[in-house]
Subunit: 222 residues, 2 copies
């Protein structure tokens, strides 16, 4: 938004808009999938918990929307280029059970947080603040951790199947992220420059893999 | 929650727990329906707006959950008796188009607010405060108003069909509310006592009808 009092503030760069478009549609689509999965909850308590996780995604989405809006960028325009690929990720990872839903919600939230954490230092200070605010708003996933751990402890066969599921989620996320970057030269360059000594896209994937492994352990899946 | 320092605070009465159970499941099921309707939005902007309305229902739900939880009542237990009837309301009013979704979201939010407004004065002060906090958290519905008005102005046939839909929503809501009350003597008595000179259940319905008519006007549907 501009005012009559002076020149408009420098908005996010085009590549930052792309990045926020990916994150924004990531949140909106996660909301949609979590809300659908919540419907299949075996208890009202579980349904309320997953619905609360879904609603938190919209809280994040709104922060990104306001941030872009302040620079005159409509979030719908920023998100549009990424809808097909992110929808394709969700289509390829549709949970077939309540426990698969919980594992996906938990690991998906974690993957998102990893990504936010890495990029927070690569963007302009205002966008960095936004990203840190989104990161600070967590704590909805203890429920998923508890439920999945309990199910795994009770049934080793279940644990093995969910461990496979967790690895598949990471694989699909990485494949789809690579496709996003492959289609966007500026985004690839931004990651290479941002990650610096950490080794570009490959380094970012490695970082995410290590954190994913830790989350698998917390779920009792390693 | 009780402390060692003294006797537990007086919690909500059994009939207040019933009331909060109705409201709580009303919010949780509204979240679920709005999230599903959001998926059918014709634009990303519309999808984000309806998703935001859905997330706001979870905000209300959480306030009720915390309030009941502070008195040691699990919201799942308070809601359980009302799931079938409220689900039946939603099944009988499934929108068949995006505009029907918006009309239902807008009028449904209004019906909820009417009900909160009436009962805020009939309950214990703590619960009354809660109800007023929920009421104060509004302002997500301007979008629905704008979209529906524009569609009605552009197409009188559309307006007539949506006006019928709006009247049907009120009819179904009243029918289902009467069934809830008919099965719960204490709730009926609570409303009769609370409404006093306003005329009990019939008076409450009349109040809601008048407010519904005003909302229909704001949508351009009268």
């Amino acid at each position: 938004m501009t005012t009559d009092a002076g020149p408009p503030a420098a908005g996010p760069s085009p590549v930052t808009v792309e990045l926020l478009g990916v994150l924004g549609y990531g949140e909106l689509s996660a909301f949609d999938r979590l809300a659908e999965d919540a419907r299949a909850a075996p208890t009202l308590t579980g349904r309320a918990q997953l619905s609360t996780m879904a609603a938190a995604e919209i809280g994040h989405f709104r922060l990104i929307e306001e941030h872009l809006g302040a620079s005159g960028v409509a979030i719908a325009d920023a998100m549009a280029p990424f809808v097909t690929l992110i929808d394709s990720y969700h289509a390829s990872t549709a949970p077939r059970s309540w426990l698969e839903s919980l594992v996906k919600a938990y690991l998906g939230d974690g993957l998102g947080a990893d990504f936010y954490r890495e990029v927070a230092g690569w963007v302009d200070p205002d966008t960095g603040d936004l990203v840190r605010r989104v990161l600070a708003d967590t704590g909805h996933s203890a429920f998923a951790e508890r439920e999945v751990r309990a199910a795994c402890e009770a049934n080793p066969h279940q644990r093995d199947r969910l461990a496979l599921w967790g690895r598949r989620l990471l694989g699909e996320a990485v494949t789809h992220a690579q496709r996003v970057v492959a289609e966007r030269d500026e985004l690839a360059e931004f990651i290479v420059l941002g990650s610096g000594a950490k080794g570009g896209v490959a380094g970012l994937i490695k970082t995410v893999q290590v954190a994913h492994g830790r989350r698998m352990s917390r779920l009792g899946l390693s």
